[in-house]
Symmetry: C2
Subunit: 530 residues, 2 copies
């Protein structure tokens, strides 16, 4: 069976081509056909092969009946099949829905249902998550062998250039579901245009070059791997896949594959840089940090290993990174602690984004004093086109012509923003706002602390007070009293934790602490005690 | 007098901002306000100051009556005022017409007339070029002092943020007139969108970083400095101005200002790398070469100085660079001559361009054999929106939905193109096509030759035959016979020059050899001789 479709045709305008990241794969396959594009264990896929596999996927999807705009779901770790989906699904005219693999079966079923996915590709280790679904399902054994059902699916397509033209660059390329810690997950729509511009931006901000080698630590299902699925391909660099975030394996690959770049949340980076195999890398690594601000400890350890951090901030709704903490050369002469403090700020709008704002309840900009808290707003090419099939939620998020992030931050005199909290996390104690992040920074600067999370707990007198959950570093000890006293020396007394509990922190698949788990525990306990 | 206009407003879509390179200046002024943006002799302009000067220019232009879409002309060397025009004119809603300063008064008058320029800014050394014009004229003394008429004009504007919103990103930002060696010059229109995408591409392809320092060798009036006027600002790097291309001064600035990047045609590069002051630069320089292919000699000299060449090719109609000769690591192990041959090819479409084509008269792609000649075609975001006020010429150039470059090239088996000639330069000898560039390469590989140009001369028997004009390297000697014999050992006998003349080559302001000058001389002589 061969399905033919025209190559991406000329629009009527000679001077206009609709922006789409699919063109990046086409170009790299044209320019660097024999360069290794993807490494997965012993398996190496050149750019020519990658494009052929993508053509096979796209043409087989169309043969399967996928119509322009229809959704195709994936449940997979960071393997070649999921990278291929980032090109093959849009080349088929479809919309990629890469689902978080840490969700449970009900959550997955909700997303499959809500997105209206027409079919689902699922990694062999995750098949239980689609049990009971009546969607056409293709299992990915991730072997690359002819009897792998995914490979059989590709074999049904054609390696010839195949691309269903898009109607326009604002068409949806992917839907990424939010984590849904409050209410049902929402489907965040990315456009071809947004994905294209973000990819160019990431390549610039992370200094990607054709000889770069990206290790796939951040999940590709998470904001399409912060759009690096497209950025790394755009520049003709190499993807190194990783089924599982395992610091031992990460260090093996850093050495064996000559890794130059990887992205992760601070907790994951911490696991890497504190691992026994950690060592200085002479060629240097550029590591992008997102999901939470890097601690001074993390930055110091990175410097010792010759890692250059790029600190970014954003949300699923902003294609992941919206801001970057652009470093200034003058900072290098400052004391380490001060430098770390500057680098831990979320920073400024990236090169393709509009200026970010921090506003009060009336949408007036807060003063640039580094103190007045307000909600963070964004807009422009770096913002989702809306929530899929949810005009009400979109209207709320876009109220007043700006995307409301739900993050509370301050604007510093130099125009760099600093996130103080999620709107729902902020602690209101005796009428004062307390940023849980500020308290966490104080707790984490205690030398015995590896990581911590602070939430509001109910308090009869003050309404709410902060409680810290602390994981100590290996071999370290500290008491509740010591931690509290340590904090009271550093921040206002009313901001210091009222209680400290030592435990492992519950985390999402992307390494973010699940504060709602801690909160549920505390508030249900408290309530039952009243 | 204060004119106010809204800051670039939200479009109706929260997720869309019209692409415009003016946003790059806004961002760099926001992120790096105290960083030096522009160096001009002893004068240093920070990004904050640059934005304020641009706001002044834009608001003063509007106060002067410039309406959206109206043209503002400039005649200036690479000085701060011309860089400012690249932001201030579009921020006023206007269209920049930066005129080639080597033109004569009649040619300038034609462009002022044809473009419908509403006013003209002219450098104090070029005032004679607008003598007799009745347009409002602002003289630029290039002193930065309060009594400089240009500075007085800025003083009339306001430093507050000022920007007339554009109706859409396809609106014209600049008109660049072709050199007009055949017929009248044509006005090539660039859009905000095209300029924006090209700037991001240049930053990626030339590896610009925020700590880069660009020396302004290529004229800013030439395709807006190959769009580097916007690219360097986008990344927050530094512009170093240069009134005059003088290798002595270039070497002084390379050392004094820590230059990391400059762009030029090969003849200019040759002047730099063969200059007595030339020396190895430890930090390295990235030098973009366009206008003609780099010779093996030039590449070897660059390598010795630690210069990394980026060879690009394009036309005024393609925002300058359309292709880049993307190097492959494997080439590094090849013998120097072979490497140079590969690097001298024009290469592949850049990261924001559509694939380039080489076609026969019926617009069918020629075989990828490195031999069959055809016309080079381009399309997409890297192509002009058309010729200003010349729908007929636009229709001819865009025939069949592609831009016809008028360049004759071949497609190599690896997909890299090689330009063999301008359509009008190609020599037809006994029914065979001879590429003047191929003959030039043969002549230039003679050790005594510094540079050369080959044109067709009339021949009774063969119709046309090649003649070489040669400039010998300092202190070198060679005879006509020696050059011809040398060539006959390297290329087919019928391609070797029938005659050789030793002389300085006539050049355009951008360092391109003016073959038409040589041709006029030869053909008028010949004609008068028949």
């Amino acid at each position: 069976m061969t399905i033919t479709a025209p190559a991406r045709p000329a629009t009527e305008k000679v001077y206009r081509t609709e922006l789409s990241p699919v063109s990046f794969l086409r170009r790299s396959a044209y320019v660097f056909p024999d360069r290794v594009a993807v490494v997965h264990g012993e398996w190496r896929i050149t750019y020519r092969e990658l494009e052929e596999r993508v053509n096979r996927l796209a043409s087989a999807l169309v043969a399967e009946g996928i119509e322009p705009g229809e959704r195709v779901a994936y449940l997979a770790p960071n393997i070649p099949a999921l990278l291929e989906a980032h090109y093959g699904v849009p080349a088929a005219g479809g919309v990629l829905v890469a689902i978080n693999t840490r969700l449970n079966r009900d959550e997955v079923a909700y997303i499959l249902e809500h997105s209206g996915a027409r079919m689902v590709f699922v990694d062999h280790e995750l098949v239980h998550l689609v049990d009971g679904s009546d969607l056409p399902t293709i299992r990915i054994d991730d072997t690359g062998a002819a009897d792998d059902p995914y490979e059989r699916f590709l074999a049904g397509g054609s390696p010839e250039r195949f691309e269903v033209p898009i109607a326009g660059e604002e068409q949806t390329i992917a839907i990424n579901y939010t984590s849904g810690t409050t209410g049902r997950p929402k489907g965040v729509m990315y456009s071809h245009r947004g994905a294209y511009l973000n990819a160019l931006m990431e390549a610039l901000e992370s200094h990607l070059r054709p000889d770069s080698v990206q290790l796939w630590v951040v999940p590709m299902f998470h904001c399409n791997g912060w759009c690096f699925t497209w950025a790394v391909t755009a520049i003709g660099a190499r993807h190194v896949c990783l089924r599982k975030v395992d610091p031992t394996l990460i260090w093996e690959l850093i050495d064996r594959e000559g890794i130059t770049h990887y992205n992760a949340a601070p907790t994951v980076h911490l696991g890497v840089v504190t691992h026994p195999a950690a060592h200085r890398v002479e060629r240097g690594l550029t590591v992008t940090i997102g999901g939470a601000p890097p601690s001074p400890t993390l930055l110091a350890k990175m410097a010792a290993l010759n890692f250059t951090p790029v600190h970014v901030y954003g949300l699923t709704e902003t294609y992941a990174p919206y801001t970057v903490c652009e470093p200034h050369p003058e900072w290098e002469s400052l004391p380490d602690a001060e430098q770390a403090q500057l680098l831990a700020r979320q920073g400024v709008h990236n090169i393709v984004a509009d200026p970010i704002r921090v506003v009060d309840a009336e949408m007036n900009d807060v003063p640039r004093d580094g103190k007045t808290m307000g909600e963070v707003l964004m807009r422009g090419n770096n913002v989702m086109t809306g929530y899929f099939d949810d005009p009400d939620a979109t209207a709320v998020a876009f109220a007043g012509g700006w995307f409301h992030s739900g993050d509370i931050g301050v604007m510093n005199p130099d125009g760099y923003i600093e996130i103080r909290d999620r709107k729902k996390d902020i602690i209101i104690s005796g009428g004062e706002n307390i940023s849980t992040i500020e308290v966490e920074h104080a707790v984490c600067s205690h030398p015995a602390v590896l990581e911590c999370a602070v939430i509001a707990i109910p308090d009869e007198k003050w309404g709410e007070r902060p409680k810290a959950f602390v994981k100590l570093a290996a071999g370290q000890e500290a008491t509740e009293r010591q931690i509290i006293d340590f904090c009271r020396e550093r921040i206002a007394h009313f901001k210091a934790p009222a209680a400290v509990e030592f435990r492992d922190l519950p985390k999402t698949s992307t390494g973010k602490v699940q504060k709602y788990v801690l909160r549920e525990q505390e508030w249900s306990t408290s309530r039952s005690m009243t």
